[in-house]
Symmetry: C2
Subunit: 445 residues, 2 copies
C-alpha cells in the first residue's frame, strides 16, 4: 500500500491488527494512535486490579510503546486523539491539529460506557469501568473509607465482578438492577444461581429497581433507589456500553447493529482504505447468520487478526461469533454462548429450553460442586442454539463444549452422544452438559 | 417376548440394560444373575476406596438387590454364576446345576484382569483391581504395614490411580512399566507431564522394565525388576484386561476385536435372542468406523441403555465411541479421546500431531495451572482425529470439547474458530485447546 498503516486505538483489536500486520509485512510503517495513556492492556482484568487480586496496573499491561517500537517496529503515540478522518486524502487529523497520512486505516476505537440520565450522575465518586486509570478511584475510595459502601447500578458481568472486588475490600454492596431479576444477561434459572451466591455473600440485590438520583451527603454519596436512600462512598455504573463509531460515521462509514461500524467478514468498512475491528464494529453471528454488535475481547482479537492480515494482502474470513462470555462471583462462575430463548423466538426458531443441575463428580467422591446447565434448541430440527451455565463447578470449559457443538451445527441429541471421558473425582459418568442434552431428547434416565 | 429377560452380570452394562428394559416394559419379568456378591457399584471408584477418599464399600454401591426388587421389580441373584447358555432351549445353567429359561438374554459379563506369566504371580499380596472386594486386601495390607511398600506392575490409568492411593496411605511406591515410558496410554508429551508429577511425588518409575518374578522374603514380598530386588508388601497388577467372552463363545456367538463379543449397533450378538453390552463386547468406534474393544464404564452404560431398549421393542442405534477416558494423579489430571498418531497412521490417515502448553487463566491472575494439549489430525483433510491433555488445570471438560469436535467431524481450523468465552481468572483469552488448534493451522501467534 502507499503509505503507512495507521491504527486508531491501541487495545485488543488495534494492537492485534498492528502485530498481525507486522508479521505479514516486515517493512511496513505502522503507527498506532491511542487517545489514552496506555496500550495493550487487559481491560477485563480491571475488577481484579481493584480487588487487589492483580497487584499493580503494570501487571495488566502486555506491551508498552517502547517495547513495541523496539521489538516489533510499531510506532505507538499515546495521548493522541484522532478527531477527524479524511478518506479522500487518506489522512487523519489529531486533536493537536497535526495530520497523519495513511495507506490503510484501521479503526479500533472500542466502546464507551453509557451513563443513565439521572441527577448526580457526574458527581465525584460515581464512575464506570473503562480503561486502566478507571481502577484508581474505586480502589482508593474503597481502601480509604473505614466502612466502605458501594452501590452498583446494573448487574451485568462487570457489575457482578465489581461486587466481588468490593466485597474483597470489605465493602457493603448494594446492586440496583432495573430488570426484573439480577444478572439478566442470563436466563432466570442460571441467573438465580448467581443471585443465590450474591445473597449468601451478603450483597443487597434490588431487582426491578429504579434509581432516582445520586446526591452528596456528608463526605459521601446517597443513592435514591425506589425511594430508599442508600449511602455509598462509590457508585459504579454498569449500565451498558455503546460503540465509539462517531469518527467512522463522520468519515462516511456505514453503521449497523447498535450503531456499530459495518464491516464485512474481511473487516472492511464501506469506505475504501478503512477497516474496523473490535468493540466499535459489528461482527457476524453464526447462529443468527448476520452482523450483530457484541463487544467482547475475544471477538476483538479475532477481528484484529483478520484485519491485520487483510491490510497486508492475506485476506481471511471472519468465522463468526457465538457471543460466548463467562464471568465469576466468588466460587460461582457463570456464562453463556449462542442465543437465548427470546432471541431464538424472535429469529423464527421454535425454541425449547431446559435446565438440569448436576454434580461435577461421582456422588461418592466428597467435595462435589454444582453445575447448572441450560440448553436452548430448535424443536423442529433439534439444532442446538445456545447454552448457559452457572455453578461452583467448572463452567468456562463446559461452555467451550457447548460452543463447539453450536459451531458444528449439532443437534442436542448429537451433543448427548459425544462420548465424554469419566473418572469419579474428575467428571461424572454423565457430565451435566451430557445430561442436559440427553434430557432434551428424553434420554436422561 | 416369551419368557423373562435374563441378564448375566449386574454391573454398569447389565444393570443399565435391566433398568432401561423395566422402563420400556413395566410387566416384564427381569432376572439378573451376578457371579459376585454385589451389583450396581462404581468399579472406577475402587482406588478411592483403597485410599480412604471414599469412606466405605457401601458408598460405591448404587443399588442393592433388595432395593432393586422393591423399587424396580428386578430380581437380582448374587453369587450365581452362569456356566452355560443353551440358545436353542433359551435357557442358562448356573453353577449349582439349575436352569433358568429366558425370552431374551443379555450378556454383560465384563472383563477380567490379565495376569502376566511370571513366577510368584499367585502369591498372597499380589492382586489386581477387579470388583468391590478387591479393595480390601490392598487397604488392609497398606494400613497394617508400618512402612508399607507397593510395587505396581503397569502404569495405565488404574496403576497411576493406585499409586495415588498408596501414597495417600503413606506407602513407598515403585512402578514397573514394560513399555519405554510411563503412562503409555498417552503419547510421550502428555505422558511426560504425568511422569513429572509421579517423580515429584517420590514415585520410583521404572520404564522399559522387565519384571522377572515375585518371591516371599521375610513377612513380605520381593519383586525382581531388571535384576533389582524391590521389597513390597503389596503388588498390584495393572497389566491389562481381557473380555469375559467365554460363555458367549461357547453358545455360538461370534467374537471380534480382542476376542470380545461381536454385537451390531443395536447390541445384538450373532445368536438369535442374545444381546451383549459392556466390557465383554465390541463397540463401534466413530473415527475408525468399525467395532473395537475399549472397556470403559461410559461405553458400558450407553450400550446397556441401547440393549435395554432393543429387548423391549424400542430399537436404537449405538452412536459410537471415541474411547474417551480421563484419570488423575494428585493435582495432575490426564486423558485422551479419539485415536493417537500411530492408530491414525495404521488407519491410512496422514496424521499430524502437535502439543501446546498453556495456562488456564490470564497471565496476570495469580495461581495459574498448566494445561498441555496434544491434537492429532489428518493432514489431507484437516479433520481432527484425537486429542490428549495433561496438567494441573482443568482437563476432563477440555477433553469433552475435543470429543465434541471429533464427533462433529470438525477440522482443527474449525475447532480453533469456535468462539470460546473468556474471563481473566477463569479462562484465558485463547484457551489452550484453541491455541493448540490454531497452531495446527499456523494461526497461534
Amino acid at each position: 500500500m502507499a503509505g503507512p498503516l495507521v491504527v486508531i486505538g491501541g487495545n485488543a483489536a488495534g494492537m492485534t491488527a498492528a502485530a498481525e500486520a507486522r508479521r505479514g509485512a516486515p517493512d511496513l510503517e505502522i503507527v498506532v494512535l491511542e487517545r489514552g495513556g496506555h496500550v495493550s492492556y487487559g481491560t477485563c482484568g480491571i475488577p481484579y486490579l481493584i480487588s487487589g487480586e492483580v497487584a499493580s496496573e503494570g501487571d495488566l499491561v502486555h506491551h508498552d510503546p517502547e517495547s513495541l517500537r523496539r521489538e516489533r517496529d510499531i510506532e505507538v503515540r499515546t495521548a493522541t486523539e484522532v478527531v477527524a478522518i479524511d478518506p479522500e486524502a487518506r489522512a487523519v487529523t489529531t486533536a493537536d491539529g497535526r495530520r497523519q497520512h495513511y495507506g490503510a486505516l484501521v479503526i479500533a476505537t472500542g466502546a464507551r460506557p453509557v451513563h443513565p440520565d439521572i441527577p448526580g450522575i457526574d458527581l465525584p465518586g460515581v464512575t464506570s469501568i473503562r480503561h486502566l486509570p478507571s481502577a484508581r478511584a474505586p480502589r482508593r475510595i474503597l481502601s480509604e473509607a473505614p466502612e466502605p459502601a458501594v452501590v452498583l447500578i446494573g448487574s451485568g458481568p462487570i457489575g457482578v465482578e465489581m461486587a466481588e472486588a468490593a466485597l474483597a475490600l470489605g465493602a457493603r454492596v448494594t446492586i440496583a438492577e432495573s430488570r426484573s431479576y439480577a444478572v439478566p444477561a442470563l436466563g432466570e434459572e442460571a441467573a438465580a444461581r448467581v443471585a443465590q451466591a450474591l445473597g449468601e455473600a451478603g450483597v443487597d440485590v434490588r431487582a426491578g429497581a429504579r434509581v432516582e438520583g445520586i446526591a452528596q451527603a456528608g463526605g459521601a454519596l446517597e443513592v435514591s433507589i425506589d425511594g430508599d436512600r442508600v449511602p455509598a462512598h462509590l457508585v459504579v455504573l454498569g449500565t451498558g456500553v455503546a460503540p465509539e463509531a462517531g469518527l467512522a460515521r463522520d468519515a462516511g462509514c456505514a453503521t449497523g447493529a447498535a450503531g456499530a461500524i459495518t464491516v464485512d467478514r474481511r473487516g472492511r468498512t464501506t469506505v475504501e482504505g478503512i477497516w474496523a475491528a473490535g468493540d466499535c464494529a459489528v461482527a457476524h453471528h453464526r447462529v443468527l447468520d448476520r452482523p450483530v454488535w457484541r463487544p467482547l475481547a475475544t471477538t476483538a482479537t479475532v477481528q484484529g487478526r483478520i484485519v491485520g492480515r487483510d491490510v497486508t494482502g492475506r485476506p481471511g474470513r471472519f468465522p463468526g461469533i457465538l457471543g460466548s462470555w463467562v464471568s465469576r462471583f466468588g466460587d460461582v462462575a457463570f456464562g453463556a454462548t449462542g442465543i437465548d430463548g427470546a432471541a431464538a423466538a424472535a429469529e423464527g426458531f421454535a425454541p425449547r429450553e431446559l435446565t438440569r443441575e448436576g454434580a461435577d463428580r461421582s456422588a461418592y467422591i466428597p467435595g462435589a460442586r454444582d453445575v447448572r446447565v441450560t440448553l436452548i434448541w430448535d424443536e423442529d430440527t433439534g439444532r442446538l442454539l445456545g447454552g448457559e451455565i452457572a455453578g461452583s463447578g467448572e463452567v468456562s470449559t463446559r461452555l467451550h463444549t457447548i460452543a463447539t457443538a453450536i459451531s458444528a451445527g449439532m443437534t442436542v441429541g448429537e451433543l448427548a452422544a459425544c462420548d465424554f471421558g469419566y473418572a469419579p473425582p474428575l467428571s461424572p459418568l454423565r457430565d451435566p452438559v451430557e445430561l442436559a442434552a440427553a434430557a432434551a431428547v428424553g434420554d436422561a434416565a
